[in-house]
Structures are given as structure tokens and as C-alpha cells.
């Protein structure tokens, strides 16, 4: 093992890190000074037990790890996608205790004790979830990057309609909730598709919901 071996990769990493520090500007440094007394010098890892797709997974992670990164980087469940990492695109949507959430905006350490379902847990090749099969049948995608999030979102969204959760387009807050195209469109607005496959996604959801055409 050599003592000094500056590979190209390492040099690039060092440059990128320095660039990041400059881009953060002087203000981040001031915020840092204000809290320096209490901040851990090195990230102390924490022991986390995640229950994903019916299996328990014990892992030591940095507390900063989002649920999304834990799923992808630690459990290698790469069906869940990182799009914006800001909760704006919906590509990272998973189901926690039956409810759809953006996995980029929750920490893995906060999800202990919750039952997480990812696209891999909904169905597998040869044994697809009805929503997965409907997306295939109706061609509800082009590039496919947003698709796992769309499908997880759609599955949990139909449960919200069944449970009577109102939406922005629900006419009567106290009446019977009808599964309509307008309802599905509004409720799926947290999932962006840059290919614009919305009309086919709509057809897939309507079929699973049993909406007559």
C-alpha cells in the first residue's frame, strides 16, 4: 500500500468537495458557528431496524440517511427512484403503514416500527400487482423513471378514495366520494411524469378502480 497515491478519482472528489464549500457561501459557515458547540464532530452511526416488504433489516447508519437512501444504497431496492430529493416530483413515493409518502423527506431512523412497502414489495415479474399490470397494459410510461413512484402512489391513492378522504375537487365534503377521472388527476398531482404519459396513467388507474369507460 502506497502512502501517497493521488488517483484521478480522489482528486476529482477533493475538487468537488471544495467547490461545494465555496458554493455554500459565507452564510452556512455562520450558521455552523452558532451551533458548533453541540454538533457531533464525526457522524455517530445509529442502529436502525427497518421493516421493508415484510422483512426486517438491521443496519448501522448515519442519522442523516433518508429512507430513500437507506432503501437504495443499503437494501439495494433500487426500484424506488431519486428524482428531485425535495419532495416535489414523487419518484421516491413508497407506502408506509398503507399510506403513500415521499421517502426523500423522512429519515430512515424515523421509520422504525413502520411497515414500508416499495415497488418490489407490491409485485414481482410473473406475479404483478394489478396496478403494475395495468400500467403495462395501458403503456403508462415512456422512460419509466417515475413509474415506481406513480404505481405506489396510485395504489395508496385508491385506498384514500375508499376511506373517504376528500380532495380539492370533491364537490360535497359530506357526500359520497365518487371515483372519477377528475379525482384521480387531482390526487396524483404529487407525481410528475416528464415524458407526459399522464393520459395512459389515468387509463391504468381507472381500470384498477373499476371505472366504466
Amino acid at each position: 500500500m502506497t502512502i501517497f497515491n493521488p488517483t484521478r478519482r480522489k482528486l476529482l472528489q477533493a475538487t468537488a468537495a471544495a467547490g461545494g464549500a465555496v458554493a455554500a457561501g459565507p452564510f452556512a459557515a455562520e450558521a455552523e458557528a452558532a451551533t458548533q458547540a453541540a454538533r457531533p464532530a464525526a457522524p455517530a452511526t445509529v442502529n436502525v431496524l427497518l421493516r421493508v416488504n415484510g422483512s426486517d433489516h438491521q443496519m448501522m447508519i448515519d442519522p442523516r440517511t433518508t429512507l430513500l437512501d437507506a432503501l437504495r444504497e443499503r437494501l439495494h431496492l433500487t426500484g424506488t427512484k431519486k428524482g428531485c430529493d425535495q419532495g416535489q416530483c414523487g419518484a421516491c413515493t413508497v407506502i408506509a403503514d398503507g399510506r403513500r409518502i415521499t421517502s426523500c423527506l423522512t429519515l430512515a431512523v424515523m421509520q422504525q416500527g413502520h411497515e414500508i412497502t416499495t415497488i418490489e414489495g407490491l409485485g414481482r415479474p410473473g406475479n404483478l400487482h394489478p396496478m403494475q399490470a395495468a400500467f403495462v397494459k395501458h403503456d403508462g410510461y415512456q422512460c419509466g423513471f417515475c413509474t415506481p413512484g406513480q404505481i405506489c402512489s396510485a395504489v395508496a391513492m385508491l385506498e384514500e378514495v375508499k376511506a373517504g378522504v376528500p380532495s380539492h375537487v370533491t364537490a360535497d365534503l359530506n357526500g359520497r366520494l365518487e371515483p372519477t377521472d377528475a379525482e384521480f388527476r387531482e390526487r396524483m398531482s404529487g407525481n410528475i411524469c416528464r415524458c407526459g404519459a399522464y393520459s395512459n396513467i389515468q387509463e391504468a388507474i381507472a381500470e384498477v378502480a373499476g371505472v366504466k369507460r
Partner: protein, 316 residues
């Protein structure tokens, strides 16, 4: 993201005292806004206290005939609650007008009140911003200001409060219940909860360090027709340019609060006295003293028209 340590609190008093005694500590509940800001290092807590186990997730009737909403009640659950849908329709409508289905499943009642502005200059750490770095200046006043405030602004800040829920809560005269690090509880009327920017736009509400919101209480229902109209650049999943929360009675009297126009939910008594005389009279009182930029001057007429539309709908 800056490193931090993490703990789960077991009691509200324990959570408040832990934040009170730990430098740089913050509560985390839904995390939808805090984590976003931590990734950008706009928020840099050294310690996070997870309050999700505090049991503050119930919606209960109060002895006065109102409703007590636990701080951790998710936005979805609050909008779906039968009493809220029946007696506080303006609140259910405002909730489902905000964010996306996923975010409403995560976001909490207390967190919604405490969310930070979405001013792009607040989010860009390379730009001066008096809210992010007091004294550095405001980039929005001479910048892109289409989304920004037109009333209650200052030379230091023209940011808006982004919440829809809080606008309905303001129209409903909600109260914010808290516990402080020393264990004492207090009740803050929502009218006094959020602050105008003045010279201290970084101080956004009246909470003390370590003070934890435990519940939001709604008074007895006031009847009337409940409406929430949100005008935005997309049909869904966008922040308001202007929003109107209204409770209108049969005789034309009522309550009106506006979102998207100020640093806090905007409600003016004189505007409500003028309400029976119509939208033009009420909007003139609501927006009296408005200070606009070239880019957000349209909000004055948009607000009046949104109010006119709501009053017309209330008449049926």
C-alpha cells in the same frame, strides 16, 4: 446536510425541556419542510428530537363545543375528519388545497403552522436574505417577486407565509396550545401567533426557544357557508398567488382571511364590517396600504376578484 444527533422524545414536557437545554436542537415531526431545508443547509440543527411518539395525534371535542386537534394530526387525517368536514369545511378545503397527497400524509398540524417561506432567495444560500441571515439584505424587493407579499411588508422582507391551513385557522379564530421547557403551558390566539417581518423577519412566530405546540383548538362552529378559493399558477400542487378563506352567513356578514399576500394569514376587522357591501369594499379594507412591486401588483386586483368569486358562490 450537517451532522446531528437524534433522539425520540416520550413526553411533551420531556421534548420541550430537551430542546430548551440542548444548543442547536430542533423538534422534527413530519419533516417535510425541515429535512428539505437541512439538505440545503438553511436549517442546521445539531440535535433532532423526534416528537412522533408523543401521542398528540387525536382530534377530540372540547367542553365548549369546539374541537381540539393534536399537534401531530396529519393533514390528511384532519381534512378527512367527519367533524371537520361537517362543521369546519373551510379548514378541510384549505388542507386539500395544499401540497400533494404524499406530503399531506406526512405533514402535521403544528408543522404546517411552522413551515418556512418558499421565497426563492430564502432558499438560495448564495443570495442575501434577511430572514436567513439577518442584516444581509433582501434580494426579493428588486428581484423576482411575483409570489411575494403585498401587505404587512417591510424594507427588510416581502416573503409570504406559504400555508393554506393556517389561513382557514385564522378565519376560524383557532388557538395554539403549547408547553414550554419549564413545563408551563400557554394558549396563543392564532391572530398573535405569526409575526409580521418588521426589522426581524427571521423571527416568524411568538414561540420561545424549546416551546412545543401540543394542540390547535377550534372554537364552537359558527355555521355559515365555508369556502376556500386558491388561485395559483398550476391547477394543483402549487403555492397560492392569492387564497381566500371565507365563512359567509345568510345575511351577508361573515369572516374572510387571505393567504399568499402577507407574512402571516391576513385578516382585517374593517374588511369584515364592509363585507355586506360587497367584494370591492371589503378588498379595499383588506388591502389598505398595500405596497406592491412591478411583478406582484396584479395581486391587488386578483385578490378582489377572488373575493368577489367567493362571495358570489356563497350566495349560491
Amino acid at each position: 446536510m450537517k451532522s446531528f444527533t437524534y433522539e425520540r422524545a416520550r413526553t411533551p414536557a420531556g421534548a420541550a425541556s430537551a430542546v430548551g437545554r440542548t444548543k442547536g436542537a430542533k423538534f422534527i415531526a413530519g419533516g417535510t419542510n425541515l429535512l428539505d431545508l437541512m439538505k440545503l443547509e438553511i436549517e442546521t440543527p445539531a440535535h433532532l428530537i423526534d416528537v412522533n411518539d408523543l401521542g398528540l395525534d387525536r382530534i377530540e371535542p372540547t367542553p365548549e363545543g369546539g374541537l381540539k386537534i393534536g399537534a401531530l394530526v396529519r393533514n390528511t387525517d384532519l381534512a378527512a375528519n367527519a367533524r371537520v368536514r361537517r362543521d369546519y369545511g373551510v379548514l378541510a378545503r384549505a388542507l386539500v388545497a395544499g401540497a400533494s397527497g404524499q406530503l399531506r400524509n406526512q405533514a402535521t398540524t403544528a408543522g404546517n403552522l411552522l413551515q418556512r417561506t418558499r421565497c426563492p432567495y430564502f432558499y438560495d444560500t448564495n443570495q442575501p436574505c434577511n430572514k436567513r441571515r439577518p442584516g444581509s439584505g433582501c434580494s426579493a424587493i428588486n428581484g423576482f417577486s411575483r409570489q411575494h407579499a403585498i401587505v404587512g411588508t417591510s424594507e427588510a422582507c416581502i416573503a409570504t407565509h406559504p400555508s393554506d391551513m393556517a389561513v382557514a385557522m385564522r378565519a376560524l379564530d383557532a388557538s395554539v396550545e403549547t408547553i414550554r421547557p419549564n413545563g408551563s403551558a400557554r394558549v396563543i390566539p392564532i391572530a398573535d401567533f405569526h409575526k409580521l417581518p418588521g426589522n426581524t423577519p427571521h423571527i416568524e412566530n411568538t414561540l420561545d426557544t424549546g416551546e412545543l405546540i401540543t394542540a390547535v383548538t377550534l372554537p364552537k362552529p359558527v355555521g355559515g357557508t365555508h369556502l376556500y378559493r386558491k388561485v395559483r399558477d398550476r391547477a394543483s400542487y402549487a403555492f397560492a398567488l392569492v387564497s381566500v378563506a371565507a365563512i359567509v352567513q345568510r345575511d351577508g356578514t361573515g369572516r374572510v382571511a387571505m393567504g399568499g399576500v402577507a407574512h402571516k394569514p391576513w385578516r382585517v376587522e374593517a374588511a369584515e364590517r364592509a363585507l355586506p357591501r360587497g367584494a370591492k369594499a371589503a378588498a379595499a379594507e383588506l388591502l389598505a396600504g398595500a405596497r406592491t412591486t412591478d411583478q406582484n401588483a396584479f395581486k391587488v386586483s386578483l385578490a378582489e376578484r377572488a373575493l368577489a368569486s367567493v362571495l358570489a358562490e356563497a350566495k349560491g
